[in-house]
């Protein structure tokens, strides 16, 4: 039993409390935080889905989920710089899209 779960949906942060209407939400890379009485646990999810069922059960399925304390900030900065550079130097649409995805992920990692 937890109080709130905040998930990074495609249109922004979605906060789920008990009694939330049944929802299917697609996730984009970002921070997911679970608040219960004692504190907050934060995870970085790469992408996936969040289902909220009518009986106040929420399922979050992510391709990859990492607890935040396992992430190295300096590597994130390096990755961000690398991908920003790739976006600027990308020639085809596909390369641009891939580099843009990299930038999105790295800046989301960077944000907390």
């Amino acid at each position: 039993m937890v109080d709130v779960v905040i998930v990074p949906a495609t249109r922004g942060q979605l906060g789920v409390l008990p009694g939330h209407v049944a929802t299917i939400a697609e996730l984009k890379p970002g921070i997911m935080s679970v608040h219960d009485g004692n504190g907050v646990t934060k995870y970085f999810v790469s992408s996936g889905f969040a289902f909220v069922h009518a009986n106040s059960f929420a399922d979050i399925i992510a391709v990859e989920a990492v607890p935040l304390d396992r992430i190295d900030a300096s590597l994130v900065q390096k990755g961000l710089a690398e991908f920003t550079q790739k976006v600027n130097s990308a020639s085809t649409d596909l390369e641009k899209a891939e580099a843009q995805i990299g930038v999105d992920v790295q800046s989301a990692l960077n944000s907390p």
Partner: protein
């Protein structure tokens, strides 16, 4: 005297050789007999014993290897079960749904010597195929793994759409399976995907299982009809602005890759467990054969010694007598 001794010891060599003229000629009798006819050879039995002992050692080693691989992969398989459970919670499980285009994905191993698990998977797949065949719906096969390919190619070659082998060359990971799932979705038209694999219950029990993944169009159809779990899908709000159709499409692809990942892991576990028990019974069997051969060997050896002794003694007593 010699003649009397010969007569006493039996007529074995008397007719085949001329009667001896001298007392010491008891030994000469041996010249008239084909070489080695009287020595009983243990060489054949000894060779067999050596090969059976080697088989026992090899199968015992294979069992150890399979046991260690099983330990590593079992944890991963049990953890991966949580991947598809939310999908069942949302969409329910409808294995008996009636659709036109069925695709049966059979998961099997590449290597043999693992008991009967591949045969059970193939039998289940063929049963499903028969069940779902009708006037205008022919199920297609996608085969993962060499062993099922060999068995299915024999009689269902024209129904096989795609085969994948050497999946376990590098340790299994989600990326690899998602690429595979992507491939299958792109190349095969389907209304329902039925994934056949062996679910790992325990080291001695593997249950052939079928997991069903429906295509977004079929899900939409079921939602409209309003029956069962899927009928309640309407009550779910779609967050994010995409239509329900698009969300369902993404959901179906994700569900398929999750279910495939779990299926491949469980099948690998079952393969290791089955190989362990097959190699164990094989080495036990080899031990029993070795015991019986040892008895035969000892009997043969003792018979040869007895024969030699008998000859010497009879010869000696012929000399005295």
């Amino acid at each position: 005297m010699a003649m009397a001794a010969l007569r006493r010891e039996g007529r074995r060599f008397a007719p085949s050789s001329p009667p001896p003229l001298l007392d010491a000629s008891a030994l000469l009798i041996e010249h008239h007999v084909p070489f080695g006819a009287r020595s009983i050879s243990t060489q054949v039995v000894r060779n067999r014993m050596k090969s059976v002992k080697n088989i026992q050692k090899i199968t015992k080693a294979m069992k150890m290897v399979a046991a260690s691989k099983l330990r590593a992969i079992q944890i991963r398989a049990e953890n991966s079960r949580g991947l598809w459970q939310p999908f069942i919670a949302l969409l329910g499980d409808t294995p008996s749904i009636d659709v036109k285009k069925n695709v049966i994905v059979t998961v099997s191993s590449d290597k043999g010597l693992c008991g009967g698990i591949n045969s059970t998977s193939v039998r289940l797949s063929k049963g499903l195929h028969k069940l779902n065949s009708g006037p205008d719906k022919e199920p297609k096969y996608v085969v993962v793994g060499e062993k099922a390919k060999v068995q299915l190619i024999r009689d269902s070659r024209k129904h096989i759409h795609l085969t994948i082998s050497e999946l376990t060359k590098i340790p299994l990971n989600y990326t690899q399976v998602s690429v595979l799932a992507d491939d299958i979705i792109k190349n095969v038209e389907f209304d329902a995907l039925k994934i056949v694999f062996n679910k790992f219950h325990s080291v001695v029990s593997f249950i052939p299982t079928v997991s069903t993944v429906l295509s977004p169009e079929v899900v939409e159809r079921e939602v409209e009809s309003g029956s069962g779990k899927l009928g309640e899908l309407d009550s779910y709000e779609i967050e994010g602005g995409s239509t329900r159709g698009e969300t369902l499409q993404n959901l179906a692809e994700f569900q398929f890759s999750c279910v495939m990942f779990n299926a491949v892991l469980e099948n690998a576990c079952s393969e290791m467990g089955a190989r362990m028990s097959a190699m164990d019974s094989s080495s036990r069997n080899a031990g029993e054969v070795l015991d019986r051969l040892t008895l035969t060997y000892n009997r043969t050896r003792q018979a040869a010694i007895t024969t030699e002794l008998t000859e010497i003694i009879s010869g000696a007593s012929a000399l005295e007598g």
